[in-house]
């Protein structure tokens, strides 16, 4: 049974408190920050300017616009890397806060701006710093933006891949599979058989991009625990995080059982298998 299959299709929803105090709209259409938000904005601004990457990524700007030239997001959104760099360089707490509500999420992270920038700025990088802060502070807007990522985050955190073939189903990512070709009913045999027709056993999985050994899963999760990723995620979505911890606990048990079983079978075992989390 797939790990993700028994997940509810979750939408990260507003808390009761948030629902009770809807955002205030000004006549201009611009939302007025609440005093609480202003405090958060000041904190974020201080953390942003103190991040060592700020000094390294933001050098200066001639406003030449070459960054925006190749920017895919600039063609479809009210967004430009030049503007983002200006905000990173010269903006105050309020402009940074405003940019973090929506604009930072328009960026495609393609790095065209970085390649072009004649000042040598790391624009895609500084946008990532803003995004990280928005996750760490669990901004309402960020939770909405990331709401559709429950399934892929689960996969990412537990086995370290991003999409799986069982996501590609007629009711979900409909145009990703061969359904799109219409007349070809090759999928009639079911996803499992389709996957077994791939000539590598490691790819005969439907619930992950490839088969990931239990040890590898546990090592990955350990990285997330020790590098603060789990804490970041907890700030964004505590429920999802607890569920991930549970899944990993199950894998850990699976690992222990297997170790007992194989230890009896393998006399000469040593190295990580014997010592890992021993």
């Amino acid at each position: 049974m797939s790990i993700v299959a028994h997940l509810p299709r979750r939408v990260l929803s507003l808390t009761e408190e948030e629902a009770a105090s809807p955002p205030v709209m000004e006549l201009t259409g611009r939302r007025r920050a609440t005093s609480e938000e202003r405090t958060v904005a000041e904190t974020i601004y201080a953390e942003f300017r103190a991040d060592p990457r700020h000094r390294e990524f933001v050098l200066g700007c001639l406003n030449c616009g070459e960054c925006t030239t190749g920017c895919p997001a600039a063609r479809f959104y009210d967004f430009s890397p030049r503007e983002m760099l200006q905000i990173a360089q010269n903006g105050d707490a309020t402009t940074l806060w405003d940019a973090m509500q929506e604009k930072i999420w328009a960026c495609c992270q393609c790095y065209t701006c970085n390649m072009r920038c004649r000042f040598g700025n790391d624009i895609a990088g500084i946008i990532s710093v803003m995004r990280e802060l928005s996750v760490i502070h669990g901004l309402e807007s960020t939770r909405k933006v990331l709401a559709p990522f429950g399934r892929s985050l689960t996969l990412l955190m537990t086995v370290g891949t991003q999409v799986s073939s069982d996501m590609i189903q007629p009711d979900f990512f409909r145009d990703w599979g061969p359904f799109a070709t219409g007349s070809d009913k090759v999928w009639d045999v079911g996803t499992d058989v389709m996957r077994r027709a791939i000539p590598s056993d490691v790819l005969h999985t439907t619930r992950s991009s490839w088969e990931v050994s239990v040890q590898t899963s546990l090592e990955l999760f350990r990285i997330y625990e020790e590098t603060g990723v789990l804490d970041m995620l907890r700030g964004l979505d505590p429920d999802l995080t607890e569920m991930l911890v549970d899944i990993i606990e199950e894998r850990r048990e699976e690992f222990e059982e297997a170790r007992d079983r194989f230890r009896t079978e393998l006399a000469g075992m040593h190295g990580p298998v014997a010592t890992f989390m021993g």
Binding site: L62, N63, C64, G65, E66, C67, T68, T69, G70, A74, R75, S80, R82, E83, M115, R116, C117, R118, F119, G120
Partner: protein, 345 residues
């Protein structure tokens, strides 16, 4: 008194040699190329700023003073391969295709000049791949000969774009300095073309216009009298426009804050100035320091910009940084005077 070596036969070197002759000293003028006149001659510069007089009118009298003087020994197609400091002056080795000769000189003026930036290094503009992307030094020749046509098909362009600061003010190609002349020369070219061919549309893409001092007049007039169009924003890439018959210049109009994509028949790159090959070699031969940009550095760039700090060695022109012809000529005079004083002491 041994002759004074002038290395480089561009405007600065010509000026120094002519001035030395006027002072009564003997000048040994050494030039790598087979002709005198430097980059202006090499690329057939058309009109020169600030007065928009033909290059020949400016270089001509200078060349005349040098070529007509028995005091100036001219050595063309010759390079300097070795230099050795004597108690007074230097012993230098001069090399041509088939001769090697050693000479003693009493002082040295380095007027080794600049090279135009090789625009192939700015890959995104497709110079060297798309024939109708040309360098502005090539356009100088076209204007000079009144043959402004597309290299691809020999047809007259209807719309031309100039891209300023190609190889200047750009860390991606390693040249963060300003070339000082790209703006004024490009605008001058646009004016020349609009004067002769008002049917050609001229667009200049810029991030700053640096027509400093009195040259600002040209910038103003280019709009007021010649209808040159200026877009504030850089072109980030040049690709083939639909169908491949034109070039597509893509950039951001940074005033309007929106992407801009315009098809052009021809695109002109205002390539920057880099230290010349001779400048780099001279630094090695005379043991002189160069700055981070690779140009020679005067000991006191404010008080005495022609003094190298090494006794008997003087600088003139673009060897120490991007420079316009009037400045190069002035420095040639200053360096000649200082070299003469040193040699006579």
């Amino acid at each position: 008194m041994n002759p004074i070596l002038v290395l480089g036969g561009g405007p600065a070197g010509l000026s120094a040699a002519a001035e030395l002759a006027a002072l009564g000293a003997e000048a040994l003028l050494v030039e790598r190329e087979a002709y005198l006149g430097g980059n202006p001659k090499r690329w057939h510069y058309s009109l020169l700023a600030p007065d928009l007089r033909p290059a020949e009118e400016i270089l001509g009298p200078l060349l005349g003073r040098v070529e007509g003087s028995p005091k100036v020994e001219r050595r063309l197609s010759t390079t300097l391969t070795k230099s050795e400091r004597l108690e007074k002056g230097f012993r230098v080795t001069l090399k041509t295709a088939d001769t090697v000769e050693t000479r003693e000189v009493s002082a040295v003026v380095l007027a080794t000049g600049f090279d135009h930036f090789d625009s192939r290094r700015k890959f995104e503009y497709g110079y060297g791949r798309y024939p109708d992307v040309i360098d502005f030094k090539e356009l100088e020749g076209m204007i000079h000969d009144d043959k402004v046509v597309r290299p691809s098909d020999g047809r007259a362009p209807k719309r031309i774009a100039w891209i300023l600061c190609v190889g200047s003010r750009d860390i991606q190609v390693g040249n963060p300095w300003c070339c000082r002349l790209g703006c004024v020369v490009s605008i001058k070219q646009a004016v020349e073309i609009r004067q002769k061919h008002p049917e050609i549309d001229a667009w200049v893409y810029y991030m700053d216009i640096r027509t400093y001092g009195l040259w600002e007049d040209l910038y103003w007039k280019s709009m007021q009298e010649y209808g040159v169009k200026f877009i504030r924003g850089r072109i980030g890439q040049v690709t083939l426009a639909e169908g491949g018959a034109q070039l597509l210049a893509t950039g951001e109009d940074t005033i309007l804050s929106r992407p801009t994509e315009v098809p052009f028949d021809m695109i002109v790159l205002a390539s920057g100035m880099e230290p010349g090959t001779g400048t780099k070699e001279a630094a090695g031969l005379f043991g002189l320091p160069v700055g981070p940009e690779g140009f020679l550095t005067p000991r006191l760039s404010d008080m005495n910009p022609v003094d190298s700090g090494s006794p008997g060695v003087y600088f003139a022109g673009a060897a120490t940084g991007p420079k316009a012809i009037p400045d190069a000529v002035t420095e040639g005079m200053g360096a000649a005077l200082r070299a003469f004083q040193y040699a006579r002491e």
